[in-house]
């Protein structure tokens, strides 16, 4: 049955409104980063202006450590994403193919732990991390970020692996593959979409995360969100143009990654939705 025209129009308008609602703040930040600082908050706002790179130059000159911390963000994000995806894939495979009460209990425990707000876990960890000399290292952030996403990643990948026919495992085993061989040659290639979906979640989370980075880093592993936080707390007045420039730079890698991976994201999220 064809829908009436006005329904289509309403749906289009609703989509437009949602897109505007989501994109407007981002567009405002990006546009403002190219405005002269004195015109950013001028009333009434100006939409036509001569773009300038002065804010980016200011960022480079006055906050050089922002770019160094972006490097740290990248190391930590890639490390956490890789670790979370690998561990989740292996765990998802096991939860999908094996059944026993211990596994069921561990799955429940994994989700139960995830229900705690991060701050509850973080503060008691501080003296421990300090004693282990892991403070201010990339490794501690990689472990923490990955740990917080393994539970969700495991469940997403379990749903993916559930969709892969067991007959493929059995055929591989008949051909001489062991459990590891089945996982590497059959399961991994067929659950790539789910792994990318999990990767996107971890990547976005790790790239923007503040709390763990604030508590467990000082200088060597300091990440970019900490510098952004400092920019907003400047006691001699926030340089809004520079802050918007930094925000735009911070936004670019994650935006590119999500755009590249978005088709897998939908597939990953809907995996197992029609199972049963």
């Amino acid at each position: 049955m064809r829908r009436p025209l006005y329904i289509k129009a309403l749906r289009g308008l609703a989509l437009l409104a949602i897109a505007f609602w989501s994109a407007f703040p981002i567009a405002l930040v990006v546009l403002s980063s190219f405005k002269p600082a004195r015109d950013i908050f001028v009333f009434p706002p100006t939409w036509a202006f001569t773009p300038t790179l002065a804010n980016y130059a200011g960022l480079w000159l006055r906050w050089p450590d922002f770019f160094r911390t972006l490097g740290n963000s990248l190391i930590v994000t890639l490390g956490a994403t890789a670790l979370a995806v690998i561990v989740s894939a292996m765990a998802g495979y096991v939860y999908s193919r094996k059944r026993n009460p211990y596994l069921a209990g561990s799955a429940f425990f994994m989700i139960f732990v995830r229900l705690f707000p991060p701050i509850v876990v973080t503060l008691p960890l501080f003296p421990l991390v300090n004693a282990l000399r892991l403070n201010d290292t990339h490794l501690i952030l990689i472990i923490l970020y990955a740990t917080f996403f393994v539970s969700m990643g495991t469940m997403i990948l379990k749903a993916f692996v559930d969709q892969i026919p067991r007959e493929l495992d059995e055929a591989a085993m008949v051909d001489g593959a062991g459990v590891w061989g089945v996982f590497r040659r059959v399961i991994l290639p067929l659950s790539a979409q789910g792994m990318i979906a999990v990767g996107v979640f971890v990547f976005v989370y790790a790239w923007n995360e503040f709390l763990f980075a604030f508590i467990f880093t000082t200088s060597a592993a300091k990440t970019a969100p900490l510098v952004l936080s400092e920019m907003t707390g400047a006691v001699d007045g926030v340089e809004w143009g520079v802050l918007f420039a930094a925000t735009t730079v911070q936004l670019v890698p994650v935006l590119i990654f999500v755009l590249l991976a978005q088709k897998y994201l939908i597939a990953g999220l809907t995996a197992g939705a029609t199972k049963g």
């Binding site: 004195r38 908050f41 009333f43 002065a54 300090n130 707390g233 400047a234 006691v235 001699d236 007045g237």
Partner: protein, 423 residues
């Protein structure tokens, strides 16, 4: 060259020993502070650390945070058995017995290697970092309150010069609340009605919220007068309708974009209001002292406004106490204080204001010195200070919005705060 077993062994030993030799040659000193503390240590006025660091073979490593996170992180590090902080910056409001217990008393250091000309450091700041008769910090940076006004707006509204009394200030605020080029202008703006902001107005009557001997006096005339003044301005449209949600940064933007004519704020903000890169009215902002009330005009030249400051402290758990003290002494020397002031710091020494370069750089230098002679901290530091601040905000907002009379709100505040202090 022929490589023998002996040269190979000697070379290997030299390579292995190199890091140890380097470690001996340069020691590392970790300083936890706000970025502004780092930026004022070097700049057009000169570097205040470089020569000392070279002489003592020290690498000074700055770790910077925003104010709240800095205090939180510093205190957490200081509470460990062994910490990573050698010098930490603390706000005067944090100098409570509980926090002080994490830091080293400095009196012994002061006796063994005193700072240069202690009498030159504003005594109120040293006192503010003294807890139970022990000195826990050396002041480094201050922010004292003043009044900034947009001279162009004053001229447009037929006003000349700054208001002489707090009563005049209220009148000026009403006169400068109008619509200019289709943009509404409000006469006076404050970053909310938290106690450090309102106390600046109450000081026009020499008022307090809590006295240094911990008496709650919010319902005495000065604070009631201050709240009444703000309520009157609110009713007259000379104080923002959304005052309760205005932040410090909003205030700066309002001033820079011409949405407000006057603000009571740290005097150092003059530079950002007049900054051509950020302000629509560069060069038009004048900074002066907060005017005194008519009633107290004979007692004070200017209102004893608030001063807040940062101090440097040594965590008890650091192994580098002597070195940390050395750095702090260096940063508080007369020369360093002057250099840092030229780099944009609020100087904590009286003599700094005598320097011609400071007078040239800070058009309000003399006004600031006048304030510093009489300025006081907004409230004594104590463990429940944040809770008291919350109560103040709640009651002040209720009064200004007209939900209670100023008198009733301040009576309630006094009662509630007394209970807090007793508990």
């Amino acid at each position: 060259m022929r490589i023998t077993r002996r040269t190979l062994l000697a070379g290997t030993a030299a390579v292995l020993a190199a890091p140890a030799v380097h470690a001996q040659a340069t020691r590392r000193l970790n300083v936890f502070g706000h970025r502004v503390h780092k930026t004022v240590t070097a700049g057009p006025g000169g570097d205040i650390i470089e020569a000392w660091a070279k002489e003592n073979r020290v690498d000074v490593e700055w770790v910077t945070f925003d104010t709240g996170p800095l205090q939180e992180r510093l205190f957490r590090e200081a509470s460990l058995a062994e910490g990573a902080v050698d010098v930490g910056f603390i706000l005067n409001t944090q100098a409570t017995p509980r926090i002080a217990s994490l830091f080293e008393p400095l009196d012994d250091f002061m006796r063994q290697a005193p700072i240069e000309d202690r009498a030159d450091v504003f005594p109120g700041m040293l006192k503010g970092l003294t807890v139970q008769d022990k000195l826990y910090g050396l002041p480094f940076r201050h922010a004292s309150s003043g009044m900034h006004y947009n001279e162009e707006f004053f001229q447009e509204r037929g006003l000349s010069g700054a208001p002489k009394t707090i009563e005049d200030l209220a009148e000026f605020a009403k006169r400068t609340s109008w619509t200019r080029n289709n943009q509404p202008v409000v006469g006076l703006v404050l970053p909310g009605v938290t106690y450090p902001n309102v106390i600046d107005i109450a000081r026009a009557w020499d008022g307090e919220f809590i006295t240094p001997d911990m008496r709650v006096v919010a319902n005495e005339a000065p604070m009631v007068n201050a709240i009444t003044l703000l309520r009157d301005l609110f009713v007259a449209g000379a104080f923002p309708r959304n005052f309760a949600s205005i932040s410090t940064e909003d205030v700066n933007v309002w001033m820079q974009t011409g949405r407000a004519a006057m603000v009571i704020n740290s005097m150092g903000r003059n530079s950002i209001y007049n900054d051509p890169a950020r302000s629509q009215f560069p060069g038009k902002f004048k900074t002066t002292t907060i005017p005194i009330s008519r009633e107290f005009a004979s007692k004070f030249e200017v209102a004893p406004a608030k001063v807040e400051f940062w101090g440097m402290a040594i965590p008890k758990n650091t192994k580098n106490k002597e070195l940390a003290w050395g750095l702090m002494r260096q940063m508080l020397s007369k020369e360093s204080t002057l250099k840092a002031a030229l780099n944009g710091n609020g100087p904590v020494r009286n003599s700094t204001y005598d320097d011609a370069r400071i007078k040239e750089k800070l058009p309000f230098a003399e006004e600031e010195r006048k304030v510093l002679r009489v300025a006081r901290v907004p409230m004594p530091a104590f463990d429940n200070a944040q809770r008291a601040a919350d109560l103040f905000k709640e009651e002040a907002e209720a009064a200004i919005l007209g939900m209670k009379t100023p008198r009733a709100a301040m009576d309630d505040l006094t009662r509630r705060t007394q209970r807090l202090l007793q508990g």
